[in-house]
């Protein structure tokens, strides 16, 4: 079979397999499948789209060894402030996305700048910056957050086709950025070995700031889609905002794995879709939220264990073959020695 076809089949196997299993389980319990109307399709696509965007945002820094714990707070700050200013200007619809993106870039850029200037470890910096970014939308809106209830012109943000287009555009952008630009090549070099990359002339600091900027912009787009659907985004404090973003680590890492057969962007879309189908199935099976979260995180841990040990069978097989070869050689040598001994006795 053609290698390309094999790769496509391997990529599609994930969502198809998960869909098959969950559909069967849901049918056994409820008598109908996971998809019983267009609403189910829209719900899965919307959630998968938002998850893809957040996972791509995480990947910008996480793949370079930087876990940014302020992404959730950037999501709050950019979405709430951008959305609020948009409301004040009497704008709606796509403008909400534009403003959220702009403020997301701003907060991401400032976080990146703080990272390269202070040289504080990313996780520590993320906690500090996260606490600061959370306060800003809280103070700006007097604790109200962003309320889009009753606002006209926002139907497009809940339109399934628009979300699909947005997700595809962002994925294509990320794919081109990573694979066809100087920034992408330099990022891959840094991911390989930061010290060698720096010694070979790559400006790792500029690259880091750009990564933080893009990550900030993407999480705010995801935040605005969420706010449009739930009609509000509340301003929170105490780093409570981070859970929504870090819960997308699973699709990000699964996406990187699936991306071995295509590219990271396609892998992330497929991974997000797979996990959303799984979660949607659990919802239809009436699992409570704590149980759903526990199952999700349990699967994530199992996946990480698999990633860390996926070569183990090949290693064991090679070891077994080597041991068998050594035993055979030993037996042959013993046989020859016995033969020689017999000949000399004669």
């Amino acid at each position: 079979m053609n290698k390309k076809v094999k790769n496509i089949l391997k990529t599609l196997a994930f969502p198809v397999l998960v869909f098959g299993i969950m559909d069967l389980l849901v049918r056994l319990k409820t008598g109908h499948g996971i998809i019983s109307s267009m609403i189910d399709v829209q719900s899965i696509i919307r959630n998968a789209g938002i998850s893809t965007i957040l996972a791509l945002a995480l990947a910008f820094n996480l793949t370079s060894g930087r876990l940014d714990l302020s992404l959730g707070a950037q999501r709050l700050a950019g979405t709430i402030i951008g959305g609020s200013i948009c409301q004040m200007l009497g704008l709606s619809g796509v403008w909400l996305l534009v403003f959220a993106l702009a403020f997301g870039f701003l907060f991401g850029f400032l976080t990146g700048l703080a990272f390269v200037i202070t040289r504080v470890p990313p996780m520590v910096l993320g906690v500090g910056m996260g606490l600061i970014w959370e306060v800003i939308p809280f103070a700006f809106t007097g604790g109200k957050g962003l309320n889009l209830y009753g606002m006209q012109g926002n139907a497009i943000l809940n339109n399934t086709y628009f979300i699909i287009i947005g997700m595809v555009v962002i994925a294509i952008f990320c794919a081109l950025l990573m694979n066809n630009t100087r920034f992408g090549y330099e990022l891959k070099a840094i991911q390989g070995n930061q010290l060698i990359a720096q010694n070979s002339g790559i400006n790792i600091f500029k690259n880091a700031v750009i990564c933080y900027t893009f990550a900030g912009g993407l999480v705010c787009i995801g935040g605005m889609f969420t706010a449009a659907y739930e009609t509000q985004l509340l301003a929170g404090l105490g780093l409570a905002s981070n859970g929504v973003v870090t819960s997308n680590m699973f699709p990000m890492m699964l996406g990187a794995f699936i991306g071995l057969w295509s590219n990271d962007a396609i892998g992330t879309i497929v991974a997000a879709l797979t996990i959303q189908i799984f979660q949607y199935g659990l919802t239809q099976l009436e699992f409570s939220t704590p149980n759903t979260n526990a199952i999700n995180q349990g699967l994530f841990v199992l996946f990480l264990v698999f990633l860390a040990n996926k070569e183990i069978f090949k290693i064991k097989a090679r070891e077994k073959a080597r041991i068998a070869e050594a035993r055979e050689k030993k037996a042959r040598m013993a046989e020859e020695k016995a033969k020689l001994a017999a000949e000399s006795a004669n």
Binding site: I39, S43, K144, Y149, G150, Y229, T231, S288, P290, N293
Partner: protein, 404 residues
Amino acid sequence: MKKVLALVLAVVMVLSLAACNNTPTEKKTIKVGVANIMTGESLEAIKNYYNNEVGPTLNMEFMISEGLSNDASGLVDFIDKAYASGCSGIINMITGSEAVNQGAQKCEQYGMWFCTNNSAVAADVAGLSHNIGHCGADPIGMEEAYKKAFSQICSDGENHSVFMYTCAAPGKTAASHYYSAIGVLEAMKETYSLTYTKSIEDIVNDQNPGEVAHDKMDQIHIYLCPGMDFSNFGQYVTACQTQLQTGNYDIFAACANWASFTEAIKGCESQLKKDIKIVGTMNIEDQTKQGLSDGTIDGAIINPLNVANGVLAAMIYNAVNGASANMKEAGTAQLLGVKPWACMSAEEYEIIANLDKEVGKFVLGGNGLKELTVLTNKNVTYKDMNNTLATLADIQKVVEFMKK
């Protein structure tokens, strides 16, 4: 020499006696910490009420926290800060039982008065000397309001089915949510003569979402979805949409955050081409008015946000002024209940639309508030306060009360 000394001493004594006047020209301001969990418009309404109405009326100063999370550590932390700032008391809005217990004990340790905005007495700390009581949505009132709303909606002779987001009902985490869910189940039981397979309390306390089992499940469907994980609130919206789009339900009820479900409900309405009625616990705010006006909402159970807040401030005032025993029964903290208002139409809501939002329009303000304190009634007790709250259950009587 002796005569001069005697004269000087006499003058000093007279001047000292004159200084010991029983009526001080300036009363000390009572500083109170408010451990708040609200955000958004509700937070602004609380701040406005405390700072611009209660403060000037009772000479009180309020230190209001940002939206704390519903756990003990945030409350205890805030109490430490309030104590350091010189607060005499704490008005606690964190309803979790562990938080109330720890908060009351902390305040007992510091000698600060402690009262809670919730709908259940914390039995473990009810006997503490500085725990002066609770005031919140009257549990029976919530149950009756939901029962009334549902009985009205279901009185058309048609079969109706309901999906209810019960939020913090299981385990009475929020007692008002618990009794709201009970009200709905009671109303459905009475209207359709249902026999549930489990007791209503067991049904509401179930942490898992699911359909309520009864003897007429082929005609009537009741689905309860509990959930307090606000970091992943989208899951509840998804769960709601999943069930509503089966077409089995035509009423949606929510103990909290009703607006977050409206897009999902609209999607189901347009897909199924049917109207899904929305009933829920709401506040006096613009989106409630808009929802009732444009027909999105069919029933609003309004918790008059600041009535409980006013009562709690009055309780602290009375305690600081030596009347803490009057706020209790035989040394045990009591529960005062604020009855909700059930508005089934925009016209009913209009009567209360402007209440509790600005100075001069607060339900408990001015003389009405003073009457709950020792400022005007030296022998006021918690029973007197409860009687006042009972009269405020009727919207018409509220309007008369506010004319005081």
